[in-house]
């Protein structure tokens, strides 16, 4: 049994909120650079170069990459041999988000009630997904999620008879409907299988996988590659203003499902696909 103090969790969450909003991971930077070089539309190329400049300015001047610094989505993989000391883990996480967003000059975008919409003024609460795993460590993944692209995400409850073609059509439909609203070039996270909420979770988690890595399942990998090509043939392009770069990656996760169902979730993220991972 290993003991981890809640203060350590709060401090790390605070730092990670700030880090994720000012620096993209290396795989995202490389993908953007490759896209800027390959883009066929002159305006599209100009936009992609501006996005690269934007990343540089964000880092050098400590200005958030995007003003929508998101709702904090946090995945916690807690080793079952860890003992958390000093308070409630959920409270420690939310305190880290509070400190990160208020002290880090990040936008407060969370409202207390979905109908009455009063701002909580500290971007809490976070959306926290817990998983109990082997070992004596805690793996924290923070993914601040902007809502331009979140609003364009979809869940499709397909029939088993719809098969793989039905899944591909669902993904393409979601991307085409999203178009310029989701700030392309996008990263497309997909969850197939499970239940209604499980496939949405899988899709969200898929966005945290590096964009240069594929699924280990061969047919899923092929689907990722085929869909990326098809999405880039839609012509939507950077900013939705036409071009050959509409998505940087399609990341698909799968899970066993029920004999009667084929749930598919498409969680779209813009080019500011932020996440930060630490292991305590």
């Amino acid at each position: 049994m290993r003991t981890i103090c809640v203060d350590e969790i709060t401090r790390n969450i605070k730092e990670m909120c700030i880090e994720a909003n000012h620096y993209l991971t290396e795989d995202m930077k490389i993908a953007l650079n490759q896209a800027a070089n390959a883009e066929k539309s002159p305006l599209g190329k100009q936009i992609l170069c501006q996005l690269e400049d934007n990343l540089k300015i964000a880092t050098e001047d400590m200005i958030p990459i995007c003003q929508d610094t998101g709702m904090a989505v946090i995945f916690l993989e807690v080793g079952q041999d860890v003992h958390v000391e000093g308070g409630l883990l959920t409270d420690a996480v939310n305190e880290g988000v509070r400190q990160g967003y208020t002290q880090g000059y990040l936008r407060k975008s969370v409202v207390r009630d979905p109908i009455y919409r009063e701002n909580t003024n500290d971007n809490t609460p976070a959306v926290i997904h817990y998983d109990i795993v082997e070992g004596d460590q805690i793996k924290i993944t923070i993914a601040p999620k902007g809502f331009g692209s979140e609003n364009m995400s979809r869940v499709f409850m397909l029939k088993p008879a719809d098969g793989i073609e039905g899944v591909k059509n669902a993904i393409l439909t979601a991307v085409k409907d999203a178009g310029p609203n989701a700030c392309p070039p996008m990263v497309v996270g997909v969850g197939i299988g499970g239940t209604f909420e499980k496939c949405a979770f899988l899709a969200k988690k898929a966005l945290t996988r590096p964009v240069n890595e594929h699924s280990e399942i061969s047919y899923v990998r092929e689907m990722e590659e085929e869909l990326l090509q098809k999405i880039n043939q839609t012509g939507i392009g950077p900013g939705g203003l036409g071009g050959s770069t509409t998505a940087l990656a399609v990341n698909i996760n799968t899970y066993p499902t029920h004999i009667a169902g084929l749930p598919v979730a498409v969680n779209i993220c813009c080019h500011v696909n932020r996440h930060c991972i630490r292991v305590l």
Partner: protein, 184 residues
């Protein structure tokens, strides 16, 4: 399609010279307003009250910034999705609003109001908030302070980069540009 420089506020004549696809550098005074501010302005008009600024010949930027660090006019400041304002936009256009800066599709009702009034819908690059903040020289909250990031701000901008998406004749770059790069 060409590069153009315009100053705001501007009149209908200037708006009618802009063409879908033009790359425009905007200089002058613009106002920010997004979801909650639009709702309040709409309700004010319904109650016969004055708006917090004169919309005639003005430009609204759909944007809610991140907080400014000390010594800086503003934080990250990129566009938000325009379609959420579609419900309120035709009325503002009929009152003389001449331009909107945002990102994403608009309804046909907005497009018709743009044509009817000789206005323009511009897109700024979504997700480039750090870069775009460099074109903002000053920012002052002029109304609805309690809305935080959603308050109405008066911005002074210099060479703010934007692209004409829907021009005063209703041409829509989101439709025409995609066709040019569609394969299969």
């Amino acid at each position: 399609m060409m590069d153009k420089h315009i100053t705001v506020p501007y009149d209908e004549k200037t708006a009618r010279e802009l063409r879908s696809g033009d790359y425009v550098y905007i200089t002058g005074t613009i106002y920010t307003a997004r979801d909650a501010a639009h709702k309040r302005m709409y309700e004010a008009l319904e109650q016969g009250k004055e708006l917090p600024f004169d919309v005639k010949n003005s430009v609204i930027y759909y944007m809610g910034p991140s907080p400014a660090r000390e010594g800086r006019p503003i934080g990250s400041a990129g566009p938000t999705t325009a379609s959420r304002m579609d419900k309120y936009t035709p009325l503002l256009l009929d009152l003389g609003l001449k331009g909107m800066i945002g990102k994403g599709k608009r309804t046909d009702a907005v497009r018709q109001a743009i044509i009817r009034n000789g206005a323009v819908y511009f897109a700024a690059v979504g997700g480039a908030g750090a870069l775009l903040s460099k074109a903002i020289l000053s920012s002052e909250v002029i109304a609805y302070d309690d809305l935080g990031t959603e308050a109405i701000r008066k911005l002074t901008v210099k060479d703010f980069p934007a692209i004409v998406v829907i021009d005063s004749e209703g041409n829509n770059l989101y439709e025409t540009a995609i066709e040019a790069y569609q394969e299969a």
